[in-house]
């Protein structure tokens, strides 16, 4: 099997970018629901909150595996440098996701230890989100490398900045989770989700502001990209649009909109993601290696792309279908008797 040699790096950049973003969005809102779960007033509302994501979380988390494996297959150098560099955040994330994942089944089948599994679900979600935020912060700060390897220590990734991004992502996922819950619930529970959503939004905006100031201050190459003429004019819409979305999000959390808070939260993530891409493109191991440096062989990329082109649309289709099956508000009048 020999395949024509084409530059597939842009295609794989798009596929990986889409995969990671879908993961952040999808598992983001269900991790967020898990974070808010800790604040739920009573068991009935906890049941509803968990039910709103029970049928779909498994599929959502699958994007994490796909993201990791796509990175390994398409940009192996980045995988080999970044993953060991964030050794502990990854380990913490995996262990947190284990606790959180089994809590769905265990909580309902193991009534004697329900409180334990409630906490496992809640703390697991918080810790998982925080660890992913630390990974993000470490990624933005860059890694110490030697040849094709990470040359720093396993604790280097914990810096004030990465802890900040960790906390910011907890707020970000909470905002997504609140948006999802507003969409899926009604009445008092929805009001509760709106109130939490407002607090999460304040945290998110402080987070975005701090990261946006800190990054160009600490990284001259990023400052150059945003502030050098004529970039400053071309890129000015990015912060302006973000501010407008933030305002719209605040308003929709305060009025009766059902879907707007979730859409607004997604748009804030889109803008942050875009901002990050503008800051770092075409680097995949920040300040060291570009996407092209880190790419796997054309044969590897082509072999995987052939299947991906067919399978990804099919996956998107039946994932969408499963969301369709479980559409509408979660109802509280069924279940426990």
């Amino acid at each position: 099997m020999s395949l024509p040699v084409l530059d597939l790096v842009p295609v794989w950049t798009l596929v990986l970018g889409l995969g990671v973003f879908l993961y952040v969005l999808l598992d983001g809102f269900d991790l967020g629901v898990g974070i808010l779960y800790g604040f739920a007033p009573d068991r009935d509302s906890r049941n509803l909150v968990m039910n709103s994501i029970a049928p779909i979380w498994d599929g959502n988390e699958t994007w994490l595996v796909l993201g990791g494996l796509a990175l390994m297959a398409a940009f192996p150098l980045a995988f080999a440098i970044i993953i060991p560099a964030v050794y502990f955040p990854i380990a913490i994330m995996l262990l947190a996701l284990i606790f959180r994942g089994v809590a769905f089944e265990f909580r309902y089948r193991d009534a004697e230890h329900r409180t334990f599994w409630d906490r496992a679900f809640n703390y697991g979600s918080v810790l998982g989100a925080f660890a992913q935020g630390v990974v993000l912060g470490a990624f933005i700060q860059g890694f110490q490398t030697e040849g094709r390897h990470f040359a720093g220590g396993s604790f280097d990734c914990f810096t004030p900045f990465s802890l900040l991004t960790g906390v910011a992502l907890v707020f970000g996922y909470s905002l997504l989770g609140a948006g999802w819950l507003i969409l899926k619930t009604e009445g008092a529970l929805q009001d509760w989700a709106r109130a939490l959503g407002r607090r999460a939004l304040i945290g998110v905006l402080i987070g975005i502001a701090l990261v946006s100031l800190w990054t160009p201050w600490a990284k001259p190459e990023i400052a150059e990209r945003w502030f050098a003429w004529p970039h400053i004019v071309i890129l000015a819409p990015v912060p302006i649009v973000t501010a407008l979305i933030a305002y719209w999000e605040w308003r929709s959390l305060n009025n009766r909109s059902e879907a707007a808070p979730f859409i607004g939260a997604i748009l804030l993530f889109v803008m942050s993601y875009l901002g990050l891409a503008i800051s770092l493109f075409p680097l995949i191991v920040p300040y060291k290696f570009t996407l092209w440096d880190a790419a796997s062989s054309p044969s590897t990329q082509a072999f995987l792309l052939v299947g991906t082109v067919f399978l990804l649309p099919v996956i998107l289709m039946y994932s969408g279908w499963s969301y369709w099956v479980f559409r509408g508000k979660v109802r509280g009048d069924l279940g426990y008797h």
Partner: protein, 465 residues
Amino acid sequence: MDPVVLSRIQFAWVIAWHFLLPAFTIGLAAFIAVLEGLNLITGREIYLRISTFWIKIFAVSFGMGVVSGIVMPFQIGTNWSRYSDATANVVGPLLAYEGLTAFFLEAAFLGVLLFGRKLVPPWAHFIAALMVALGTLFSTFWIIATNSWMQTPAGYEIVDGRFLPKDWLQIIFSPSFPYRLAHVVDAVYITTGFVVVGVAASYLRHGRFVAEARTMLSMTLWLLTVLVPLQFLLGDAHGLNTLEHQPAKLAAIEAIWNTHSDVELNLFAIPDEKAETDRYVVAIPDLGSLILTHDLHGTVHGLKDFPADQRPSPIVVPFFGFRIMVGIAVIMLAMVVTSLWLRWRGELFHANWFLWCCTLASPLGFIAVTAGWATTEVGRQPWTVYGLLRTRDSVSPSLTGLDVGISLLGYCLVYLVMFSAGFALMVRLVRLGPIEAAAEPDAIEGGRPAGPVQALPAAETGRRS
């Protein structure tokens, strides 16, 4: 401590626990699909009751399999980054194809299988069961392809110390792949079979759910009557393949130090790596040659033919791992033969001693599968890619012993909590049995979530009152 040794222990720990779940769910998914199919064809409700019962246990074990499975690709990155850098061009797509073909297929149809019995027509529910079973087999295919390539690499070229693909068909269908795939699939089906038989036998001993238990016991023992003897043939073929492609591994499995013909078969020994000899040997003359080479006078390479730094270590793992696996296979064969005899005398459902044996045998498959993997993985040492990339050159260079020690402790604690809780839960579901399971109300009505999790404990609440 040495980060390489600790990383090996950590990988062994997370993958050994993880594999127990696929070892159960691959077979169980197929069993459920068969039951759903039988119900569809015959219209007999008993198959439905049995299927509904096992689906609940499947849900718990599959969930645990998913979360412990997510750990695996990240292990390769966190602890084995040099392996990743060297091999990702070849193994990356194989692993990614597992995600694309298997994981999403399972995730989507699992929802219908667990919650959709009344929502979709019976044939569609059967299709969902079939798709989940198919997904688990796709997953097996790609994982075994990856592992087999590491055992018997093919279809690659090495450029600047990294493996690049030359021929994808040779990479996927590497020399040991067909043997390993058949051996593993048969092994996991047998493992599930003995669990089903054990559960059915304990129901029969207690006189509970007799009709369901008889159906389960009878059909599963028929299946095992085919699968267990077949495994001896497949294992033998796999052994010949190992003799050809991984002679050092084979020598370690048999603890043979000197190359010679008319090789004896070591039933028991304590291999001594320092003195390069075996102690306390119990052996049968010539049988080793016959089994390994299919010739009474066949020659087998001894470990001394290989430099000390190219021998599997510690050698006791492949040596005893193999003996545990084969010992269990012999017990299983004896049980299958006994079941035929009892069946012929019409006593299969009444021989209490045999039903006891069945219950005791239910964990045997898991032990055999774990021992088998330990044999083949430690037998591959000191290489990650056999003969080409050393394990100690595969580990992430940034890791210290302390780093891996801390993470290993975390994995140990979390896995012990999760697996003991999950095991206790499955035991409880088995105690509840198939009747209660069938009485459970359906989770979904009219395309709306009636709370898929809320509906689950209804049977439990009903029972408690």
